[in-house]
C-alpha cells in the first residue's frame, strides 16, 4: 500500500515536535509513508472563510499530487488539513464545482482522488491495541491522562467518520492498552479557540481555559492531543488561559505520538519533548520498563 504523507505547514514550524514524534512512531510501528513532493498549504481556515473555491483549489492541488504519485491513501497528522481535504473531495463530486476549481488550477484535478485519513486514524486501523501493547517497552502505568481530540477531528461526522462524534475513544483505547489511566473527559471534542489567538485572544483564552480547568479538576497529569493548533493553544498559550481563568494549571500538553513514542521506548529527544512549553519532566520518572515481559 502506498501511503502518501502530507505533513502540513505547522509540522515544519510550530509543531515540529509533532512531526518528529509522528515520524518516529510510524517508523517504530513499521508504517512507511512518503511525503508528497512539492505540497502546498491547505489554506486552513482563512481560505475557506474567504472562498470555498479558493480553499478547494489549494487542497485539490495536493490531492492531485498524491493521486498522480499513485497514492492509495493520503495521511496527514493535522485534523484541519484533513477536514479541508475531505470537504474538497466531497465538493469535487459536483461537476459544476469541479469545473470552477479546475479553472483555478494549472491542470485539471485528477478524476479519482485517494482517500484521506489522519495519522491517528491510520495507526488505529493498521495497528490494533494488542499489537501496540506487545511492541511497547515502557509502561505508562501511573499516568493519569485525558485525551483531547478537538473539534475538527470528528466534525462534521458525515465527513470525518471518526468514532462517536460526541465521545471518540481511540486515543483512550491505545493508551489504556499501554498502561495509562485514561479519565473520562467530557470536553474532549470541545473547541480550543482555534486560530483566534492572534486576532481575538479572549476567545481562545476562555475556551482553552475551560478545557484546561476541567482536566485539572479531574486530576489529569497531562492532556494528550492530536491537533497542532489545539496543542499550541493549550500549551504555548496556557499562560494566557491561566490569566483568563485566574488560576494556575501547569498541565503538560503532549501529542499522542509523543506518549506513544515514550511507551515504544523512543528517546525523549527524538520525540521533541523538549519543545513542550509546559514541560513533561515531572511525569517522566513515573515511567518504567514493562515488568511482565511477553511469554513470561
Amino acid at each position: 500500500m502506498h501511503l502518501a504523507y502530507f505533513p502540513g505547514c505547522s509540522a515544519k514550524g510550530s509543531s515540529l515536535d509533532y512531526e518528529l514524534s509522528t515520524q518516529a512512531v510510524l517508523n517504530a510501528l513499521g508504517i512507511t509513508v512518503w511525503e508528497i513532493d512539492d505540497w502546498n498549504c491547505c489554506g486552513s481556515t482563512p481560505a475557506h472563510a474567504v472562498s470555498t473555491e479558493l480553499s478547494s483549489a489549494l487542497c485539490a492541488r495536493n490531492l492531485d499530487l498524491a493521486a498522480k504519485a499513485g497514492a492509495d491513501q493520503l495521511l496527514t497528522p493535522c485534523p484541519s488539513c484533513l477536514s479541508n481535504f475531505r470537504a474538497t473531495a466531497k465538493r469535487l463530486e459536483d461537476p459544476d464545482f469541479r469545473e470552477k476549481v479546475n479553472a483555478l488550477l494549472d491542470t485539471p484535478c485528477a478524476e479519482t482522488l485517494p482517500p484521506t485519513s489522519s495519522v491517528l486514524q491510520a495507526i488505529g486501523e493498521l495497528v490494533d491495541c494488542e499489537t501496540l501493547a506487545k511492541k511497547a517497552t515502557i509502561s505508562l502505568k501511573g499516568l493519569k491522562l485525558v485525551a483531547y481530540y478537538g473539534c475538527l477531528m470528528s466534525r462534521p461526522p458525515e465527513l470525518m467518520h471518526f468514532e462517536d462524534p460526541e465521545n471518540p475513544m481511540l486515543i483512550e483505547r491505545m493508551l489504556e492498552a499501554l498502561g495509562a489511566e485514561m479519565l473520562d473527559f467530557p470536553l474532549k471534542t470541545a473547541c480550543c479557540g482555534a486560530a483566534f489567538g492572534i486576532p481575538k485572544r479572549p476567545l481562545t483564552a476562555q475556551n482553552s481555559g475551560r478545557i484546561l480547568e476541567l482536566a485539572a479538576n479531574l486530576g489529569a497529569d497531562a492532556i494528550v492531543t492530536c491537533c497542532p493548533l489545539c496543542q499550541m493553544n493549550l500549551d504555548l498559550r496556557q499562560a494566557q488561559a491561566e490569566k483568563a481563568m485566574g488560576r494556575h494549571f501547569g498541565l503538560p500538553v503532549p501529542y499522542f505520538t509523543q506518549i506513544l513514542g515514550l511507551a515504544l521506548g523512543i528517546a525523549p529527544q527524538d520525540l521533541g519533548l523538549a519543545k513542550l512549553v509546559v514541560p513533561m519532566d515531572a511525569l517522566l520518572p513515573k515511567l518504567a520498563p514493562k515488568t511482565s515481559a511477553p511469554n513470561a
Partner: protein, 653 residues
C-alpha cells in the same frame, strides 16, 4: 339496461364553470342512458325525490349522479335509489365538483371533462351487478391487549356492560406506566391511590380473565369471530399456588437483577414481585439472573416457598380465546435517551430519566420516597430538568411532541420543592404545552409558588465538572445569552416511542401504524378510536401521545365501540368483496399469499384446489384481483371488466 343520469348544478358550485345542460344532453347519447337531466341541488330533498320519481317513471334500473365527491354523498344516493326499489349498488357517481368545477375555470374544458367523467360512470354502471350483504353471528367477548390505565378502563367498562373480557398484559403486573408514577398532575394526587382500586376491580371482576406475563401470539378471524392464541410466558412459579407472601424475595441470593419496575435505578432479586400493590401479586423468576436457571446450584426459593409453588421446569404455554372484538391498548415506552452523547450516553449516574425520577420520589420506590442522588446518595439541592429529550427532534427521527412532558416536569419541579425545601429547580424548555383543564395554571404555579426557574432553550451539553457536580450548558433564548448551571442532579424529560413490539402486533392485528410505530386510527378526527380493520379499536398512547385523562377517556370510548358492536346479535357483511370463479381458478395461491387480511383460504372442489374468499374477512381492497393472472378472482364493483371499460372509455374516445 335503462340508466338515468342526473347532472347536478350544486347551485353555482358546478354550474358556474360547467355547462350542465350540455353535459346532460351529451349523456343522453351514451349507451343505455334513457334519461338525462340537470337538477339544481340533487342531494336536497326535492332532488332526491326527483331521482325516485324518474326511476319509477322511466323504469330505470341504474342511476348516475354527477355532482360532488362520492366520498361525500355516495351513501346518501345509494339510500335514495334503494327507496325507489333499486339495489343500492346499481348506482354510480361522477365527481364533477371537487375534480372539475372547483379546480379549473375554463367552461369549455370543464364541460368536456365532466361529460367524459359521466361516460366513465355510465360504462362502469353498465357492468355493476346488484350486491347483497350477508348477516353473520358475533362472539360477544372482547380481547384487550395491554393492562395500563387505558386497557384497565376499557376492560372495566366492557365488563360492566356485561361483556366478558380477556385482558392480556405483557408484564407480570397490570398498571402500566401509571403504576410507576408518584403523583399525577394537575391535582398532585397519589397515582397508586387512584389506580390501585381499579386494578383490584380488574382482579375481582367475574367477567374479566387476566393473563399477565403473557403476549398475543397469533390472531386469525375477522370482526365478530376472532381467534387469538396467547402465549403465557413461563414465570417458573405456579401462580395457582403462589400467595404473594414475598418470602422467596427475602431469601433469594441473587440480588443484582435489573429492576425494570424501578427503571434501573436500583437492583432487585431474581425472583420478584414488582411492587407491593401488584395485580396479580405473584412472584416471577427472571431467568437471566436466577442461579438455578443459569445452571448453578441454588434452589433457595423452592426450599423456602411455603406453598411449593416454584417450578424451575416451567415452559411457555398457549391458550386460545375466541372473541368478537379487540382493543389494542399497548401504551408506550420511553425512547432510549442514551443515544444523546452530549448528555453522556448514560454514563453519568446523576443524569436520569423522568420516569426514574418518579421512582426516586415514590414512597414504594428504592429510596422510599427520599430524593437521593444515585451516585452518592446525597440529597440534591440544585436540580435541572431538561425537556424535549427525544421529542421534537427530527435529527433522531422523533419530530413529534410527547404531549405530557411539560406537565409532569412542572409536577416534578413542584414535588422536588416539597421534598427538599431548600432546593432550586431549573427547567429548560422550548415551549410549554399545557392546554388541558387546570394545566396552564399548574405550570404557572411551579414558577410562581415554587420558584422554579424556567429557561427557554435546549441544553447543548451536560458533563461532570470534576468536583462532584454536573455542568449544564444551555441557552436562554429570551435573553440571547448562554446559560451555565452547576447541578447536583439532572432529570431528562425523555420522550415516548411506540411500545416495543407494536409494529409486530399491528401486523398480527392487520392494522396500520405510522412511521413511528403508533397505530393508525381510521380517521384522525372523526374515527379516532376505530381502525381500518373492523372490530379492532384503540385506546391510550398506542395511538399517539396522550396523558392519563385522555387515555382513560379513550379506554371508555373503545369500550363504547365494543358495546355498540355487540348490541346486535348479527353483523352485516360488506358486499363489495372479492369472488372466485371456480372455473377459472387454478389454485396457484398467489391471492392467498398477498391478501392483507388473510381473507382467502383454499378449498377442494371436485378434487382440485381452489381459492375461497371468507366473506366476512374480505375488506374489498382488490389486491387479489390485481394479482390473479387468470382473472379468476374479481372484486365486486371494481372488476377487471369495469376498470377496463373505464380505461377504454377514456382512451378510445
Amino acid at each position: 339496461m335503462r340508466i338515468g343520469v342526473f347532472i347536478c348544478h350544486c347551485g353555482s358550485n358546478i354550474a358556474g364553470t360547467v355547462d350542465c345542460a350540455r353535459v346532460a344532453s351529451l349523456a343522453a347519447g351514451y349507451p343505455d342512458v334513457v334519461y338525462a337531466t340537470y337538477p339544481m341541488y340533487t342531494c336536497a330533498e326535492p332532488g332526491q325525490a326527483a331521482i325516485e320519481q324518474a326511476i319509477h317513471e322511466h323504469r330505470l334500473d341504474g342511476v348516475v349522479v354527477a355532482s360532488c365527491s362520492p366520498r361525500m354523498h355516495e351513501p346518501t344516493f345509494r339510500k335514495t335509489v334503494e327507496r325507489a326499489g333499486l339495489n343500492p349498488y346499481m348506482f354510480e357517481m361522477a365527481n364533477i365538483r371537487e375534480h372539475v368545477s372547483w379546480i379549473g375555470r375554463d367552461i369549455e374544458a370543464n364541460t368536456h371533462k365532466a361529460a367524459e367523467l359521466v361516460l366513465l360512470a355510465v360504462e362502469k354502471l353498465r357492468r355493476n351487478r346488484p350486491l347483497y350483504s350477508r348477516e353473520f353471528p358475533v362472539t360477544r367477548r372482547v380481547l384487550i391487549i395491554g393492562g395500563g390505565v387505558a386497557g384497565i378502563q376499557a376492560a372495566l367498562d366492557c365488563a360492566e356492560g356485561g361483556i366478558p373480557v380477556v385482558l392480556v398484559e405483557r408484564e407480570a403486573t397490570i398498571g402500566g406506566k401509571m403504576a410507576k408514577l408518584d403523583k399525577t398532575f394537575p391535582t398532585v394526587d397519589c397515582s397508586a391511590c387512584i389506580l390501585g382500586p381499579k386494578m383490584v376491580d380488574v382482579a375481582q371482576h367475574p367477567l374479566i380473565t387476566l393473563y399477565a406475563h403473557a403476549e398475543v401470539e397469533e390472531i386469525s378471524g375477522y370482526v365478530g369471530n376472532f381467534s387469538v392464541k396467547i402465549r403465557k410466558r413461563a414465570t417458573y412459579v405456579d401462580w395457582s399456588k403462589c400467595t404473594g407472601c414475598g418470602t422467596c424475595m427475602e431469601k433469594c441470593p441473587s440480588k443484582k437483577a435489573t429492576d425494570r419496575f424501578n427503571e434501573g435505578i436500583a437492583t432487585t432479586t431474581a425472583i420478584t414481585i414488582a411492587f407491593p400493590q401488584a395485580i396479580p401479586k405473584k412472584a416471577v423468576i427472571a431467568k437471566d439472573f436466577c442461579r438455578q436457571l443459569s445452571g448453578k446450584k441454588c434452589g433457595v426459593c423452592a426450599k423456602v416457598c411455603p406453598t411449593g409453588a416454584i417450578d424451575y421446569d416451567m415452559q411457555d404455554t398457549f391458550v386460545t380465546e375466541n372473541v368478537g372484538s379487540i382493543v389494542a391498548a399497548t401504551g408506550y415506552d420511553l425512547m432510549d435517551w442514551t443515544v444523546y452523547g452530549q448528555y453522556g450516553h448514560g454514563r453519568y449516574p446523576d443524569v436520569i430519566s423522568s420516569l426514574a425520577y418518579e421512582r426516586l420520589m415514590n414512597a414504594s420506590g428504592p429510596t422510599e420516597g427520599h430524593i437521593l442522588r444515585p451516585s452518592d446518595g446525597r440529597e440534591p439541592k440544585s436540580i435541572v430538568f431538561v425537556q424535549c429529550v427525544g421529542s421534537r427532534d427530527p435529527s433522531l427521527n422523533r419530530p413529534y411532541c410527547s404531549g405530557f412532558c411539560c406537565m409532569y416536569t412542572a409536577k416534578q419541579a413542584i414535588l422536588t420543592k416539597d421534598h427538599i425545601p431548600d432546593s432550586q429547580s431549573y427547567v429548560f424548555y422550548m415551549d410549554i404545552r399545557a392546554p388541558g383543564k387546570m394545566y396552564d395554571e399548574f405550570t404557572r404555579r411551579a414558577q410562581e409558588e415554587y420558584g422554579t426557574q424556567y429557561i427557554r432553550g435546549r441544553v447543548s451539553q451536560i458533563f461532570p465538572n470534576g468536583k462532584g457536580q454536573l455542568t449544564v450548558m444551555g441557552m436562554d433564548t429570551l435573553l440571547g445569552k448562554p446559560v451555565e448551571i452547576t447541578a447536583d442532579l439532572v432529570v431528562l424529560a425523555v420522550g415516548i416511542e411506540a411500545s416495543r413490539g407494536a409494529r409486530e402486533l399491528a401486523e398480527k392485528l392487520r392494522i396500520s401504524y405510522d412511521a413511528y410505530g403508533f397505530f393508525m386510527e381510521s380517521h384522525v378526527k372523526l374515527k379516532p378510536v376505530e381502525t381500518n380493520t373492523a372490530g379492532v379499536f384503540l385506546a391510550g398512547v398506542c395511538q399517539g401521545a396522550k396523558d392519563i385523562p385522555a387515555s382513560v377517556a379513550q379506554g371508555s370510548a373503545a369500550a363504547a365501540k365494543v358495546l355498540t358492536l355487540f348490541a346486535r346479535d348479527c353483523l352485516a357483511s360488506n358486499p363489495q368483496i372479492a369472488h372466485v370463479d371456480n372455473k377459472r381458478c387454478v389454485g396457484c395461491g398467489k391471492c392467498v399469499r398477498c391478501c392483507p387480511f388473510g381473507a382467502i383460504s383454499t378449498c377442494t372442489v371436485r378434487g382440485e384446489e381452489k381459492a375461497e374468499v371468507i366473506e366476512t374477512m374480505c375488506q374489498g381492497c382488490g389486491l387479489c384481483t390485481a394479482t390473479c393472472p387468470q382473472g379468476a378472482i374479481q372484486l365486486a364493483h371494481a372488476t377487471d371488466d369495469q376498470i377496463l371499460a373505464e380505461v377504454d372509455a377514456l382512451c378510445q374516445i
